[in-house]
């Protein structure tokens, strides 16, 4: 049986926007933060600098995508409050004509953004580097954030609230029982035959979202993820899961 130390914290904000990769000019949002977005948020808390231009980093900077790479970190995401989406129109600068459009604005482009409203997520994090785990834990406990963390875009500054650090075990579900899972689940982790015991009163959604992204912003893994939009648990026939005392069963993306 595998075990690990798991950091549990909540992130919340009045608005959030986690841009879908395929909707650049009519921006839609994922219902939950993707693992690369969470890596960015935690990178801000740790004070890891972003790239200067895509793929180019200052000397001595380990990019967030490597600090929270697939081999080092795992995220599980729970929807705490029923998801709400609203559309908000933003006036963007029209910059495609010439460079001078930046400092002499004549044209604007109106774009409607899909935003999450009053979003609250609980994040479960495993980080296999003890020093990074400890530093992150200390910073979240003390709210000692290096840069300002935000939910997707900069005007959506985030509240980050420490909840617990818990030793938990991974459980193999060899019997193929239905297990109540509180987090979002990769469809690939479900058993193929009768994967979910659907409940008529719940509202399921699936999204294809980036799971692993390199420092050059190339997505190495997309997965189909299923979640329950009101924050209820999913009765899933899952291959393996983690049991977190006081919280419930989760599955890492």
């Amino acid at each position: 049986m595998k075990s690990a130390k798991i950091l549990v914290f909540k992130i919340s904000g009045e608005y959030a926007h986690f841009r879908k990769f395929n909707t650049t000019s009519s921006p839609l949002t994922y219902p939950i933060p993707t693992p690369p977005a969470l890596a960015g948020l935690l990178g801000a808390i740790l004070g890891i600098e972003r790239e200067i231009t895509p793929g180019k980093f200052n000397e001595g900077i380990v990019p967030v995508n490597e600090v929270f790479g697939n081999n080092k970190a795992s995220f599980a995401i729970q929807i705490v409050k029923p998801l709400k989406k609203v559309n908000i129109g933003f006036n963007l600068l029209d910059t495609d004509k010439s460079a001078s459009s930046f400092f002499n604005i004549t044209n604007r482009t109106q774009i409607e953004f899909e935003m999450l409203k009053d979003a609250i997520f609980r994040i479960f994090l495993i980080h296999r580097e003890d020093s990074t785990f400890k530093e992150l834990e200390a910073r979240i406990v003390d709210k000692k954030h290096h840069f300002t963390p935000y939910l997707g875009i900069s005007q959506c500054t985030a509240n980050v609230e420490y909840e617990a650090t818990i030793n938990a075990h991974k459980i193999e579900n060899q019997a193929g029982d239905f297990v109540s899972i509180i987090s979002a689940i990769k469809l690939g982790q479900l058993n193929e035959e009768k994967p979910i015991n659907f409940d008529q009163n719940t509202s399921y959604a699936t999204e294809t979202m980036p799971i692993v992204m390199t420092k050059d912003r190339i997505v190495e893994e997309y997965s189909e993820v299923i979640m329950e939009q009101n924050g209820k648990s999913i009765n899933a026939n899952i291959q393996s899961y983690w049991s977190i005392p006081d919280f419930g069963n989760i599955s890492f993306l």
């Binding site: 904000g13 001078s100 002499n104 000692k144 840069f147 300002t148 959506c156 500054t157």
Partner: protein, 304 residues
């Protein structure tokens, strides 16, 4: 000038009377509105524009004496061609020059491709979307325009306007000292930011914004990298005889600061100073007692 060293958190409240605080371009310029809570919204961009306008008009950031605003509206272009050429030159210069001249890039950040360089700065100062503290309604008004739709017609056109009769709108802001090291935002810039928030809101005398007035500005300077977060959400607006939709002035309600003050007291050790600026007409309460606060430094221990 050295970059500022302390983290600062801001709470800014202003009232609007019979105005359109922030038109929604995709909705016939109706006030931005959250229909779920019936509250008006104001984008962070609107507030930043207010501040930029103030710096440009009143603080000499108009391209002369090495003081400038980078993200400019066309209406700022007073010098015509010559001015535009100057700015094009500034644009192709190095980012160090842009940072030195342009206060808005230092304070709000920016993303720009320069000629031999690129400029990507996360702004040290971030404002969330502003929101009214209470439900409001949007009213529709018909007015006559000054001009006819086509030349020669005898009658001027009609126009439709959307306004809110009254609202108190709140903004949360954070200034991150770590990001300030990159854009070189200084303590002097912070002073100008606070001045711009207050005076800029007062001086925004356009047809649709006349009737805006700053009400409260709280700025918390922390000793260490920490901030409370969600200050506006800790305020409680309590009406007296009227319901929320009937509020028409600061006399119609009081603000309960219980949650805010308690939180400030909890984290007092992390706080260097709390400064407050307020409109004397605003009624404030703490634990159901009216409190009178003076402009300037707030002595937390003396409250309650």
């Amino acid at each position: 000038m050295s970059a500022l060293q302390n983290r600062t958190e801001l709470l800014f409240l202003y009232e609007v009377e019979n105005t359109n605080p922030n038109g929604d371009p995709l909705n016939e310029n109706r006030p931005r509105f959250d229909s779920e809570e019936s509250k008006v919204l104001v984008s962070d961009v609107r507030l930043k524009r207010t501040i930029r306008d103030y710096w440009f008009e009143y603080k000499g950031y108009n391209g002369e004496n090495g003081k400038d605003i980078f993200v400019r509206e066309t209406k700022y272009e007073k010098g015509g061609l010559n001015d535009a050429k100057e700015r094009a030159k500034a644009f192709s210069e190095k980012k160090e020059v842009v940072l030195e001249k342009c206060i808005d890039i230092r304070v709000f950040g920016g993303v720009l491709p320069l000629k031999n360089d690129s400029l990507t700065f996360t702004g040290p100062t971030q404002f969330q979307m502003g929101k009214s503290l209470h439900p409001v309604e949007v009213i529709t008004e018909q007015g006559t325009g000054a001009f006819a739709s086509t030349a020669g017609k005898g009658q001027a056109t009609f126009r439709t306007e959307y306004k809110v009769p009254y609202a108190v709108i709140g903004f949360n802001g954070i200034i991150n000292e770590k990001a300030a090291q990159y854009t070189l935002m200084s303590d002097e810039d912070k002073k100008l930011l606070l001045e711009g928030v207050w005076e800029g809101t007062k001086n925004l005398i356009s047809r649709s914004k006349f009737g805006q007035s700053p009400v409260l500005l709280l700025s918390i300077t922390y000793k260490e990298p920490f901030y409370i977060g969600g200050l506006r959400q800790r305020l409680k607006l309590e009406t007296k005889d009227k319901n929320d939709l009937q509020i028409r002035s600061l006399e119609d309600f009081s603000l309960a600061l219980d949650d805010l003050i308690d939180e400030l007291k909890t984290y007092q050790e992390k706080i260097d100073t709390v400064e407050i600026k307020l409109d004397k007409r605003l009624n404030l309460t703490y634990k159901e007692n009216t409190i009178l606060l003076e402009n300037g430094k707030l002595a937390l221990n003396e409250i309650g």
